[in-house]
Amino acid sequence: MSQYLILIYEDETQYASATPELFGEILQEHNQFAAQVEQRGVKLLGGAALQPTGTATSVRGSEVTDGPFAETKEALGGYYLIDAPDLDAALAVGKLCPARFGGVEVRPVMTFD
């Protein structure tokens, strides 16, 4: 088994204008996702949703600046950490992951052993 990080990149403005009903729907999707992942022999080790990039602060050396590291149309908005047998299994989970306003990036986690 190997760990992969699923990074969720989406258009934040879509969330800024979303109704509470839509938020509820998306939350529901994420709950269903968690259940489906476990059924596929993949372990969900963790995950979180992030506050919008407007709340981000970048630090480079001692210099502190307001905003995310890089301004992009689709910004990192959340992640899941999974344990999967191989990339095919990880990509299958990536395809299941809710990201209606963008997509996800699947990255293998480096191991030191």
Binding site: S2, P85, D86, L87, P108, F112
Partner: protein
Amino acid sequence: MTVADPSAVAAAVADAHRREWAFVLAATVRVTRDLDAAEECAQDAFAAALTDWPVHGIPARPGAWLTTAARRRALNVVRHRGVERRWLPLLVEEDSVPGPGELAGDDGALPDDRLRLIVTCCHPALDRSAQVALTLRLMCGLSTAEVARAFLVGESTMAARITRAKKKIALARIPYRVPSAAELPERVDAVLSVVHLLFTTGHTTPAGEELVRRDLVERSVELSRMLRRLLPGDPAVAGLLALVLLTDARRTTRTAPDGRLLLLAEQDRAQWDRPAIAEGVALVREALRSRPPPRYALQAAIAAVHAESPSWDDTDWHEIVALYGVLGQLWPSPVVALNRAVAVGFASGADAGLAAVDALAGDRQLAGYGYLPAARADFLRRLGRVAEARAAYAEALSLTGNAVEREFLAGRLRQLGGTPR
């Protein structure tokens, strides 16, 4: 005591390299679970053959001899694998039951892992250019320099591309296995796209002095044949083999003895490779029985109409227009639409053809595609609209990199009183 003379051995090793490289390598990867180590072991086995076969004779089954030799070396490598290598992840090896196409090896004991190897080379998580490079290197045994030459890039660029792809396979854990039945069609489709790209690149090289890159064409025909043996029931595979056979059957007639381009209308059909055409036509019939018809099978059906037509004048252009229509409906593509427009011109006259081509002029994907102005130019020439035809030939010339095609377009331009630049 010399049992086999050195030149016969050299020829036998070269022949085995061409036929058996992928088999030997794929069976060795299963032992090393590492592509680089497996490549080294396979290369060592071929080198050993050069010294062993003159003494002990050329084995009855060179592939089995080479595979056994490479796997023996691989076991040694695995046993002595240094600590410094241990942190590198090994290829994921599933101890599953053999998947479809995993035939028993030639002598029953050696695994035929070529399908695992080629689906790994063509994994969708790899860039298309990396898929092509890995396929040539790992399936066809080409050196990095040869792969670089095939795609007109520098050797160091190609080496970096191959290294990066191998690294991703290992670090991201792209599995070395035959995909499940559910995933197989999609994965085979990726493999077929790579083999088709190799074929089209060789059939009319995008740049260079020769029209055809024989090595690329022959490698892609061999890969198609190999896939057919590995997946005998797959209609998409049958379709691709049919397409490459039917298209390549015309190879020797596509240029005149002086190297000049000969159009389909001018080719000597008596010189077309009839056994290849017969084989291709039978494969098309088989592949077209599946629903929906596979993409390459439809393209092969179009090639078959030409191949079976006794002369240019007898060509059933309405059938060809209809086939392009089906193709375009199932897999919409501006290139297919352009080919259909050209066929319309032969089925219904140059006016209709020109109108159909002009309808595609605004397509962004066709911007910079030399065959569009070339098709326009031909219709305009046939309609006697000389000035417009000249302009279109000049535009086509500016977008064409192949020397043989350029000479053809320049000749047309001169016939119309223009000056090629």
